[in-house]
Amino acid sequence: MVNENLVKDVVKEPYKYGFVTDIETEKIEKGLNEDIIKLISQKKEEPKFLLDFRLKAFKKWQKMKEPDWAELGYKKIDYQDIIYYSAPKQKEKISSLDEVDPKLLETFDKLGIPLTEQKKLTNVAVDAVFDSVSIATTFREELAEHGVIFCSISEAVKNHADLIEKYLGTVVPASDNYFAALNSAVFSDGSFVYIPKGVSCPMDLSSYFRINSGDSGQFERTLIIAEESSSVSYLEGCTAPMFDTNTLHAAVVELIALDDASIKYSTVQNWYAGDEEGIGGIFNFVTKRGKCLGKRSKISWSQVETGSAITWKYPSCLLLGEESVGEFYSVALTNNLQQADTGTKMIHIGPKTKSTIVSKGISAGNSKNSYRGLVKMGTKATGSRNYSQCDSMLIGDQASANTFPYIKSQQPNSEIEHEASTCRISEDQLFYLQSRGIEFEEAVSMMVSGFCRDVFNQLPMEFAAEADKLLALKLEGSVG
């Protein structure tokens, strides 16, 4: 009966992460051109190869067209009206957490992500990103003992330039798509993880992204490399203040798994979704992709998408190594005027590769929720298998649920199975719960939670509880 209590706690809560931290920030002028990119690169004291990477990406981006194939309607984004770099002002070099602006620490405290020594979460190392920069990373020394590198990508550029040069842009090339090219040109910070050969990361790693400024976009980049026989579980959380303007978030995540390595990447996305009239909210255009390079490697994506006015996100797996495994577990909830077009791509290239897709979409209010997926069996993917299941639940007669699975096979010795269903909350089950004295709204929350169980089971403990709470909160007032 965990849900019952959780639901009770949160039913009447508004978007509690909507506050703004009043802190002095350093912002560059609005707009996007080569000089701005050079300025960002200069501020971050980057080596030449990275500036070249950015400029090349920018050139490509200028020639590209914003994609319009998704089932999304939003007002045109003015890319010259965005601030591409915003960072809280702090002392030049921070040697310990004590030197971090207390206001920032307080912000993350309020978000439930304490960073200070006494309070920090046990057994989860956190990299906290505030607007364009990483504020702090906890448990670094403990991780270093095992040879694990966990730091902001800016630091990695300085301290591990060889790894960055070798891997950056190898999974999501700069020319991959419009938003990936934009990110490659202007990315400001993000996390870098390197797990050496044979190491199983002793604790969960986590990044927490916070947008604070209303007029700056967030363009973070995450790169995770798991060497042979290593494993890591990585969690990502996001929140933003309530502004009546739309803020752009265009991130890129690249995962690389070598022989026998495994990466588990979990996201709970709770960006501000805009108000009931659809004013404000984050435009979330994210490119996430993992490359199973090695034999028997495994990449697993699990995500709970509840926030953002617009979500455009397709975490994918390139299954190159023999017997490599890709997984995608997703819950996408939309309410009010939110729009989500999300799904996955499983590209089977190597032989005996396997993939599983479980997607649950819940649409309430006037929202639009689409699953868009691609399963492709290449000519060499003999003995490969895919299983996909996407279920949608509709709450109210104004919401829409769409399913667009693309399936392509060029290999007769492979099997693809796909099934999808759309339903609404069963009245019989509701009646049963109500006849047992459970309030209507609680009963709905329980059923939604049950609907998503397959996905929640894949989330790490801390996230599973949060996800449950989030769903109940988001559904408040949407039923009945």
């Binding site: 069996m377 000519t379 949608s392 509709l394 709450i395 109210g396 007669d397 104004q398 919401a399 829409s400 649920a401 769409n402 399913t403 667009f404 699975p405 693309y406 399936i407 392509k408 096979s409 060029q410 290999q411 007769p412 010795n413 492979s414 099997e415 693809i416 199975e417 796909h418 099934e419 999808a420 269903s421 759309t422 339903c423 609404r424």
Partner: protein, 405 residues
């Protein structure tokens, strides 16, 4: 692409009908479909251009019907040849639509057409001369089965149009046979209007010969309490597209679709279906099967659209595919677009090869691999073929499929 040039410069025919003029006008600004659009993205460009390479043929040569008429009661019509029919019996009547009725209906349909989505129909109606349009009004019950033939002529492009009105409470079995000839292109558009309480078992069998092409489009409008059952089979075409659009205009109607497409060599056959529910209590059961061998390519795209008004819709769609060769390709995209909340909608898709365990079992019982494969294929085909009216008892399609392929 001689025809496209002629459409652009408006040099097709001197004696154009009003419908031809309207359709040509719609095509003139962009005479080809958008190759980047979802509906045409996978379509083989050179095969489509081959389709359009032939010059338009308006006078048919003598057509030999491929199989004899088995029962005297079957009504047999050939589009373009014997367009005169008027049968007024005790239980039923079959008569031609008057020119006014025909024009009014087609014009109404064209007004909803979009250049890209209905390109095949627009092309058909631009090219289809008066002789090649058959309009029928069918009324009554206990109607003898009807067979309608549409055939191509070698080295030319032929466009034929069929319009059928099923009056209230009418019940009929109708088989449409589209025949390709060597090096030919056939454009066939069919418009069906099912009035209240009517029901039809509709069969569409299309088979070609060497290098024959087909653009086959089917537009169905179902009024309340009508039942539309479609069994279709497409094979032996260098390039074929079967576009089905079904609209349940006021809901409360039943639609059953079972389709099969078989591709060999370097053929490409595709099926696109769009089912719209514009009222409550609609029902759909659809299964589409594909078999791709050699270097061929089979495509299925099906969309089910359930707007807010279509509460209590029950729709299911299944795409089952067999991929038999390393060089063949299958693309399938079943999709659901749903706004109504009180609905039951599901879809499924599978791509695999013949079941190895079943093959092994049969071989242990002394059946050769070839025979065992044939047995499996025959059960795979049978589900669809048994759904095609008329043909099932006398014209053994199954044998044809298994032995000729």
């Amino acid at each position: 692409m001689e025809i496209i040039e002629k459409i652009k410069t408006n040099k097709l025919d001197d004696k154009q009908t009003e419908i031809q003029k309207i359709c040509l006008h719609k095509l003139q600004s962009s005479p080809l479909p958008n190759p980047k659009s979802e509906l045409w993205r996978l379509s083989n460009k050179s095969k489509l251009s081959n389709f359009l390479d032939y010059s338009v043929n308006q006078r048919d040569l003598k057509f030999d019907i491929p199989y004899p008429k088995n029962s005297q009661s079957t009504i047999r019509l050939i589009i373009g040849e014997n367009c005169q029919i008027k049968l007024l019996e005790k239980n039923y009547s079959i008569q031609q639509l008057s020119e006014d009725e025909l024009h009014k209906y087609i014009k109404e349909q064209i007004s909803f057409f979009k250049q890209n989505e209905n390109w095949s129909d627009l092309l058909n109606l631009s090219l289809s001369c008066k002789n090649n349009i058959l309009g029928l009004k069918i009324n009554g019950s206990k109607i003898p089965p009807i067979e309608i033939f549409s055939h191509a002529s070698s080295n030319s492009l032929t466009a034929k149009t069929l319009v059928i009105f099923l009056e209230k409470n009418c019940d009929v079995e109708l088989l449409q046979v589209n025949l390709g000839k060597e090096n030919s292109s056939l454009s066939q558009s069919t418009f069906f209007c099912l009035k209240e309480n009517s029901s039809v078992n509709h069969g569409v069998v299309s088979y070609g010969k060497n290098r024959s092409n087909l653009l086959n489009s089917l537009n169905v409008i179902q009024q309340k309490n009508s039942a539309y059952n479609l069994g279709s089979l497409h094979f032996k075409f260098n390039y074929a597209r079967f576009e089905i659009s079904i609209k349940q205009s006021a809901g409360n109607a039943k639609t059953n679709i079972k389709g099969l497409q078989i591709t060999k060599n370097d053929e490409q056959i595709s099926t696109y279906t769009k089912i719209e529910f514009n009222g409550p209590n609609g029902f759909l059961d659809q299964i589409n099967k594909s078999l791709a061998d050699d270097k061929s390519h089979a495509i299925f795209e099906g969309s089910i659209i359930v707007p807010k008004i279509a509460q209590r819709t029950d729709a299911s769609q299944l795409s089952r595919n067999l991929l038999l060769s390393n060089l063949a390709q299958i693309d399938t995209k079943p999709q659901l677009e749903i706004i109504a909340d009180d609905v039951k909608c599901k879809h499924g898709a599978t791509i695999s090869q013949l079941n190895e365990e079943e093959l092994f079992y049969m071989r242990t019982r002394g059946i050769t691999l070839t025979e065992a494969s044939k047995l499996q294929l025959s059960s795979y085909f049978q589900e669809i073929i048994s759904f095609i009216p008329i043909s099932k008892d006398r014209w053994d399609l199954l044998d044809k499929l298994l032995n000729e392929n």
